[in-house]
Amino acid sequence: MGIVLLFLIPVVVFSIVSVVLVGVLGAALPALAAYPDFTWVMDPWFQALIKMTLLILVVVMPLASILTWMERKQSAKMQDRGGPNRAAILGARAWGIPHFIADAVKMIMKEDFIPAKANKILFSLAPVMAIVPVFVTFAIVPFGGDVCTHQLTQVVANPALCTDKVTLQVARLDVGLLFYFAIASLAVYGTTLAGWASYNKWSLLGGLRASSQMMSYEVTMGLAILGAFLVYGTLEPHAIVLAQGPLPWHWGIVYQPLGAILFFTAAIAETKRTPFDTPEGESEVVGYFVEYSGMRFGMFFLAEFIEVVFLSAIMATVFFGGYEFPFLFPDGFHLLGHSLPLPHVAVLLIQTAGWGLKVIFFCWFQLLIRWTLPRIRPDQLMDLGWKKLLPVSLANVVVTAVVVLALMAR
């Protein structure tokens, strides 16, 4: 029963999510644009705004908040405990899911304390600096294929040929993942400022640990994903997804297994979660947000979980075929000579739901890692980053480049 629910609930939830996303962006808004007064809804700026809002409201924020519950529940299950099960809405306990609401209410109601000697402006700015970049990076994530708005009920063989297509991606940037690295680097300011503005020597040290860690692992992260760029020949995430296609043996994990592991490791270090949580180290060392309380602390907390969601999305996009569902081509399933033609809208819905399932799988996997591995020391952290991951990722890049060059020359 529990196992069935464990798989069934995400499938149902993400089916609904995909209906909302595809329905609003691919059907409702184009239908609205048919009326002369509402042609502006197809304006690229408004489209970007509505996509971002939908993505954050429907996928990112619910997932990030539910992760706070998931983390506690999953760790409990891993440790043979019960986990949160008390909070209830109208008597419905629902495995303790209402706990994330209780947590949020608690965070908001708590005293918002600013230390007397803290720099009040920077102190207030730091959580915002931490949370905004991770929201912004979602702009490059493709969460579904292109929608041919006039052919929703038909079988579409090649959506790229449509003239009236709506992209399920906020911003289709050619620099793509470079944009992600650029924006993600800004998050380090949030942590450093938080440590410095608190007027607390321990939080300052925590901030220093955080910034050194984040900067160190950014190098590895960039180099690890470089191999994938060389393979796909592009930096644009949607193009990467298309390059991988619906066949699992063409996905990035097959071409770049080492790159995937290296990127995943470095990205976990970027999120500052166990086993790389020396910056906060809640149980032993004092972290950079020790002086924060209430919703300011909540923003750091939330930023961490949004980073988890984003990391999952990037892993899915670059190494696991993004929104591509196994064997689901734009015109339907093709497997071992059999084929099942599907209308365009069904393909889109399955693709978006599949993307969501991939994301939540990686969220689950990160939580699994976080509750399995012990924290490593700062010196081991630096050792791992600079002496192990970096050379290996460099070697990965060189080998990939040589192989790609050899294949291209042939």
Binding site: M1, G2, I3, K77, D80, R81, N85, L368, L373
Partner: protein, 194 residues
């Protein structure tokens, strides 16, 4: 004057334990995968089980206490509902935590002596049960099965005679044993007596 500098030597030796520098150890991958396998196994087992085996959801589910569980104290009653305690002070003497305070007073009736004040500081009490063992009159017992209550002030944890008697029931135990004690003594020889 000639000064010679001698190299400082220490007799203490450090035993160097060799650590195997294998690739597996360096990468830690084997250990990580092993660990993930263990946690994952527990995760799926427990999800399938729906409820962990060892957890008891306290207010809804309760463990059945053993028969000799020691709970809050209570003072037993005589048949006329007066206190059985005769303020012999055996329990405060036996108490290793000094949590019992008794002030004796004279009664008007044949019982002769009773506690004017009988207070137990339940915060000090270490629930050892020696007071019950010491009591010659079956006056104090700890078989209420009740836990210590949550209190706001330390004074509230001091239970007085009224509180303790409220939990009490009537006891008809006879000092020196029941009338047929001789038969029982024969069946269960007490090693303390010849």
């Amino acid at each position: 004057m000639e000064t010679t500098f001698r190299k400082r030597t220490s007799k203490a030796t450090v035993k160097v334990v060799p650590r195997p520098e294998t690739l597996n150890k360096e990468l830690m991958l084997g250990g990580i995968i092993q660990g993930l396998a263990v946690t994952m196994r527990h995760f799926f087992q427990n999800v399938a089980r729906e409820k962990p085996e060892v957890t008891i959801n306290y207010p809804e589910e309760r463990l059945k206490y053993p028969l000799r569980n020691r709970g809050l104290h209570r003072l037993m009653h005589r048949e006329d509902d007066s206190v059985r305690c005769v303020a012999c002070m055996c329990c405060p003497t036996a108490c290793p935590a000094h949590c019992i305070t008794i002030v004796a007073e004279e009664t008007g009736n044949g019982n002769e002596k009773r506690p004017a004040i009988f207070e137990i500081d339940e915060l000090r009490c270490i629930v050892c049960g020696l007071c019950v063992e010491a009591c010659p009159c079956d006056a104090i017992r700890m078989d209420t099965g009740e836990h210590m209550h949550v209190v706001d002030r330390r004074d509230d944890a001091i239970l007085g005679k009224v509180d303790l008697m409220k939990r009490g029931i009537s006891s008809t135990a006879v000092q020196g044993g029941e009338p047929n004690w001789q038969e029982r003594v024969k069946t269960v020889p007490d090693p303390r007596f010849r």
